[in-house]
């Protein structure tokens, strides 16, 4: 066991940090405040991700045949940490490199891959995920949006909600029901957002401009070729995709940056001499470190086995604990930073509230840990 980076990994991190220093504008922290789904950040991300792609830093962990560098998941982790700690200048496009692209490469048809992967690899594609519905949040399998096969087309009818990035996205990674079976009746469709019958409405939210939407599908027609994988295969594909999503967001990195920044402010006015403040800062720091090391443990598993560790759900819970501890620390001891005082702390605070909600509620992850890692008796249904 070893807890140090190799020289190559350390050099890769330095390369990413140097890129960020050279390519983030002086007012980036103010831009990032708008949120990853905002028009401002979406515009910025298209230009920024193009530069990342040109520097070979957009998809370093992808196979070379798809525009990557063929590097291992550690590089994905390092890249994601640096990006997230910097306020995620890739905007919504972080999803593309973490799971949408890899999912298309693994499960897509030749035509789908040829159409959708190159724009992702060029850093100029924004996707949204059409998962949640008004009556299907944590209970995703309760979704009711329906895709009806009519000859060589599907007709889609239904509603999605809390959809991130929908107003900026060109394409939706949509879950829709193709039969009554609870899980085996769900299929995936790749739907251009300009398709007639799609109506996107922004929902004002706590997490930034333009981040959350309702998306209505009224008699939306897509060809059979828009279906990803087979009918009813969505649950398997989503499990693959979301495992990548959970590992792909190192929220602890921004939480640690926010904590450091808060402590710097407290040190500057001698408030960090207070024992209770140091106590709670230590607790938050320990939880950030625990989340980081737990995440590394899963990456190590992935590098060794090529599979997703069952501990991934535990990492998610550890990350939520870290986010919560830092957010509560900041709001109690550095509150003025959230009243126009500090864009980085404000940005962290805005995003931290979704840590236990986005990509599946933390309580669902606790159920998975209870079932799969603790082997506790299951709840009766």
């Amino acid at each position: 066991m070893r807890f140090e980076w190799t020289d190559a990994q350390a050099a890769f991190r330095q390369k990413v940090q140097a890129f960020l220093r050279e390519n983030l504008p002086a007012d980036w922290d103010e831009i990032a405040r708008h949120g990853p789904g905002s028009d401002t950040v979406s515009r910025f991300s298209r230009q920024f991700c193009g530069k990342l792609a040109a520097a070979g830093l957009l998809l370093p962990h992808w196979p070379k045949e798809w525009g990557g560098e063929g590097l291992d998941p550690w590089c994905q982790q390092i890249l994601a940490e640096e990006m997230w700690a910097a306020g995620e200048p890739r905007g919504a496009q972080y999803m593309n490199v973490n799971w949408i692209g890899p999912t298309l490469i693994r499960f897509g048809s030749d035509e789908q891959r040829a159409r959708y992967v190159p724009p992702i690899a060029a850093g100029n594609a924004i996707w949204c995920q059409g998962f949640s519905e008004p009556d299907a949040g944590s209970d995703l399998a309760a979704l009711r949006t329906r895709a009806t096969l009519e000859g060589d087309i599907y007709r889609i009818q239904g509603q999605k909600i809390w959809t991130s990035y929908a107003s900026a996205a060109e394409t939706c990674f949509l879950l829709a029901r193709t039969s009554a079976d609870r899980k085996r009746g769900i299929s995936i469709f790749l739907v251009p957002m300009k398709t007639p019958g799609i109506d996107v409405r922004s929902i004002p939210s706590l997490v930034g401009d333009g981040d959350i939407h309702e998306v209505f599908f009224d008699n939306v027609v897509v060809p059979v070729g828009a279906r990803l994988g087979e009918e009813g295969q969505a649950w398997d594909i989503i499990n693959f995709a979301l495992a990548g999503e959970r590992l792909g967001i190192p929220r602890y990195a921004l939480a640690q940056r926010a904590l450091d920044r808060a402590v710097r402010l407290l040190r500057s006015n001698a408030m960090f001499d207070n024992a209770q403040i140091r106590n709670l800062a230590s607790r938050a720091a320990a939880l950030c470190e625990a989340a980081r090391l737990s995440s590394y443990q899963c990456t190590d598993h992935r590098v060794r086995t090529g599979t997703i560790s069952p501990e991934t759900s535990a990492v998610r819970i550890a990350t939520v604990m870290a986010e919560r501890a830092v957010a509560e620390f900041v709001v109690e001891f550095v509150p003025d930073a959230l009243c126009g005082g500090d864009p980085v702390l404000a940005e962290h605070h805005q995003r931290a509230i979704v840590a236990g909600i986005a990509a599946g509620a933390a309580e669902i992850q606790m159920n998975i840990v209870a079932n799969d890692l603790l082997h506790l008796p299951r709840e009766p249904r």
Binding site: M1, R2, F3, E4, W5, Q9, W74, L259, D260, R261, A262, V263, R264, L266, R267, F272, A275, R278, N279, A281, S282, R283, A285, A286, L287, E289, A290, A291, L293, S294, Y296, Q297, T299, D300, H301, R304, E311, A314, I317, A318, M321, E363, Q365, M366, N367, V369, A370, L373, L374, H375, L376, P377, R378, E379, P380
Partner: protein, 303 residues
């Protein structure tokens, strides 16, 4: 980063598992708070397991892995200080070791060969046979005892070459590794109980109120373990302080929850849970508790 044990570590751990197997059974009629095993202590020493950290290829991480495994047994022995302090600071002093803070009762004093007495800046070492030792009737699941003439005895004892800060650093790693093993075993014991105990027509462990808190306990314990191993590997005092802080912080919450889930059965001495949780309770205050680590743990924050 490499989270898998090396082939050498795998060999050591599998030997430890074989050695520990006869000691893994919980005695049916356990009527004591503490279950000390001189036999296990001898087996560990004779097998050379307490000296693994002397071997450069194995080092402190292997020592911490062994401490974690042995702490998970229902019986207890002095292993943390021997495996994670002695090799680095006082290899020539005879073990078992006992760490004494001021006038406080100490773990393993009755069985120790050497007592290390720590004050703010210095450490003094004394053969325990020279001291007057009185057992203490304790609520902790370690053999606890006290020096009847502590300060007088140690005022003339030689000052060790290593500093109190050096000792605190190594002690924190040892503490965190031991807590990690105790927490794991206590959680396993509780899972066993809630999986079998039926109420309202179904196992307690099928109720979400129990499942979620056990899941959180599992996640926190995983963090305690990783912070302990990382601190063992890095040798960095900030890492060890953070690991000890996190270990005591996590244990404080988890111990309460595990007893809550084990109900009335868990408060009987016939049930084994206390063999781990009442060791954890002793460790909650070791070195002065969480507050004693905060200055070092937070020293690098915001820098």
């Amino acid at each position: 980063m490499d989270f898998s044990p090396s082939p050498d570590q795998v060999a050591v751990l599998s030997a430890i598992d074989a050695l520990a197997k006869p000691f893994a059974a919980v005695p049916i009629q356990c009527r004591d708070f503490a279950l000390y095993s001189a036999e296990l202590d001898r087996a560990l020493q004779d097998g050379g397991f307490l000296d693994v950290a002397f071997v450069p290829e194995l080092g402190a991480v292997t020592g911490a892995l062994i401490v974690e495994r042995i702490a998970a047994l229902p019986c207890c022995v002095e292993i943390a200080a021997s495996a994670l302090i002695r090799p680095f600071l006082c290899p020539k002093l005879p073990r078992p070791l006992c760490l004494i803070e001021g006038d406080r009762p100490a773990r393993f004093l009755k069985h120790a060969a050497t007592a290390l007495w720590i004050d703010a800046e210095t450490v003094r070492a004394l053969p325990v046979e020279m001291a007057a030792v009185a057992p203490v009737d304790s609520l902790f699941a370690y053999p606890m005892a006290q020096l009847t003439n502590g300060r007088a005895m140690f005022s003339d004892a030689p000052i060790c070459k290593f500093s109190a800060e050096d000792l605190r650093h190594r002690w924190r790693v040892a503490l965190a590794a031991e807590v990690a093993g105790l927490l794991k075993a206590a959680i396993d014991c509780t899972i066993d109980h809630v999986s079998n105990r039926q109420q309202f027509g179904r196992p307690l462990g099928s109720f979400q109120a129990v499942r979620h808190r056990l899941a959180e306990a599992y996640v926190r314990t995983g963090g305690v373990r990783l912070l302990a191993l990382r601190a063992a590997d890095s040798g960095n005092p900030s890492d060890s302080a953070l690991a000890a802080f996190h270990a005591q912080d996590a244990a404080a919450t988890i111990v309460y929850d595990l007893h809550q889930f084990s109900g009335a059965m868990g408060i009987t001495l016939e049930h084994p849970l206390h063999l781990w949780t009442y060791r954890l309770k002793a460790l909650l205050s070791e070195m002065g508790g969480r507050a004693a680590h905060v200055d070092v743990a937070s020293a690098t924050l915001g820098r």
